[in-house]
Subunit: 365 residues, 2 copies
């Protein structure tokens, strides 16, 4: 912060507030009330939060907790926030706020503009890169939580052929998977998608629907399952009844691309290098393209966070960074094959966090 000339960070989003405070609550699901955490360059953080959160925040390490009775139809914390910002900045102070790619401002735009107007000498500066670099390298405690989430999901995926059957719907199969992951120790499964179709699926972000699986179908399920506020994010593919050569071949190409990504995932390589290693294998394997826009990303307190494995992202991999390898390709019109695994960058070879997918497309009879 000192190097960037920042006097204070103004944090408004759940993962940002949690990262610095430890405040973990599902209450962010409600969009009603804004929450603010100030991290000054000197001194301790200040929470400026709705009164409903006082007891919860008092259980964290944050000592300076300022509350208002929210919602307030006239002044929903803005005067209180202005006062706190004045307390920790000079007249010409610089307030860091995430403004760039992947960031959102979790407060009404009207209120942000009113706040800015009431702090005329102060500058709001983009703190997105700083926050990304801090959060990108995980502690071992964070990695333990992600590994646990990965193991629970891996176990759920491995059990799937035992309960999924021809004639079941995507929705039924995903419901049992979620139940198995909860039983296995997951806290929640905010993200499950399913795609299926004859010989392949045409997208990886919709469903699960009531579509029933028939012979020759390929099913993908992707999940972000959490433990103690940390995500896994990976998928698995299955054929139902039978699979054709084209599908099996696409599976093998994408499996090999994941291996190439894994081998490239060393300290000092860039996110773009990871992309190149995987893309090369898929191009050689007949890829017709990729609608996902990248081949994996950072992972942690959010389903996706930090860098993107894509051309132009020169983020340098460091030990402790948790990364998804997500090679995907269109191998025939409207038919995609996407794999995903989760790893943590270590000195030398990376550590697998998800249990490696089967090298050949599993068939559910």
């Amino acid at each position: 912060m000192a190097t960037a000339g920042l006097d204070v960070l103004l944090l408004t989003c759940e993962p940002e507030v949690r990262y610095f405070s430890g405040f973990l609550s599902r209450f962010w699901e409600s969009p009603t009330r804004p929450w603010f955490l100030l991290v000054p360059v000197r001194g301790k953080p200040i929470a400026v939060i709705p009164e409903i959160g006082a007891a919860g925040m008092a259980a964290t390490w944050i000592e300076d907790i300022r509350t208002w009775s929210a919602p307030d139809l006239k002044d929903d914390g803005i005067s209180l926030l202005k006062g706190a910002l004045d307390d920790v900045t000079e007249a010409q102070g610089r307030i860091g706020l995430a403004m760039d790619l992947e960031s959102h401002l979790r407060m009404p735009l009207r209120d942000f503009e009113a706040l800015r107007a009431r702090l005329p000498g102060k500058a709001f500066v983009d703190a997105g890169p700083l926050l990304r670099s801090l959060r990108g390298v995980k502690s071992e405690a964070e990695i333990d939580k992600i590994r646990y989430a990965c193991h629970v999901a891996s176990s759920g995926f491995e059990a799937l052929p035992g309960h999924a059957a021809l004639g079941q719907s995507e929705r039924e199969i995903c419901r049992q998977l979620k139940i198995n992951m909860l039983s296995g120790g997951a806290d929640s499964t905010p993200y499950v998608i399913a795609g299926s179709g004859p010989g392949g699926y045409d997208n990886i972000i919709m469903g699960p629907t009531d579509r029933q699986l028939g012979a020759g179908d390929v099913l993908i399920i992707d999940t972000g399952t959490t433990y103690d506020g940390y995500f896994c994010d990976f998928d698995r593919n299955w054929a139902f009844g039978r699979s054709d050569d084209e599908v099996r071949r696409a599976y093998e190409v994408v499996f090999a691309a994941t291996e190439a990504g894994y081998q490239a995932a060393r300290p000092g390589a860039t996110a773009a290098d990871l992309w190149a290693a995987m893309a090369r294998v898929m191009e050689a394997g007949g890829s017709l393209g990729n609608e996902v826009g990248r081949l994996g990303h950072g992972l942690g307190m959010q389903l996706t966070e930090g860098h993107s494995n894509m051309p132009g992202d020169e983020t340098i991999l460091q030990p402790g960074m948790v990364v998804t390898l997500e090679p995907g390709m269109t191998f025939a019109p409207q038919r995609m094959m996407v794999h995903e695994e989760n790893i943590v960058i270590r000195e030398g070879e990376a550590e697998w966090l998800s249990w490696r997918a089967a090298p050949e497309l599993p068939i559910i009879k």
Copy 2:
């Protein structure tokens, strides 16, 4: 929109985009890519979305779908969005955007400011009240989904005394509840909190934790469980082993406050009237205050949406509005009692959507 002088609505958040398009995807869990839907005052909506969403959006009624390969580190859809806005507005056009209470702008602030700078003649105008009034009154199809979510959660809560026991943790009890709700037909349970303590709980937005339930404890669980993108939002309370007079009395007061809220929930009454009806009962019953800031709210595509049952909110209740009645009070230092039920406003008496809580505090032996 014509009355408000709006040429187009610019929608950036999941429920807003879904409300007008029908696009339902869990992919919004990833903060990486922005999504835009334009609803012009004349003509059909235009989706400006990441290419990864093309197949899913094509399955809705939206025909004009413009995509870019996202994420794009240099121009993440902003030029495409600017072009679409130019297509549907004159040089001095007025672009409606939710800016007020409860709203967020789901795109990077930097990109919004760049967009605004590239549309110098056009005005961004607050469309929050318009969107709220549209979404506030539900169709019968919407109400059916909320009722179903309420029934699944009600059934889960009713089954809880059959599996919860002294010595279990909040986390264990909530896990089984979630499994039962999934088995019972819920799509997901994005929101579960649990609070417990001897003779009462001190907050309603944290947990579930590993705290074990002992004799004399009171447990609250509140859930937002979904079906087809629609939420329920209500809670239940239980005593473990035994309950003292003070707790039972607080339960009865808050139960009576819910009844008073229900009786007041008629077309033509205001949200402030609902608050007054419930607050009166709790004041007479010895309330020491309320940290929640309101006594219920609108409900539907979000856990909380629309109006607040509180002084100053003069929203007029209309048939089809789905409302939570959420009376809560502090009845002793650090001890709260909060009830919540879901209703839909009808001509005459409202319809209960959640199954009414027991009139006396249930005790789990």
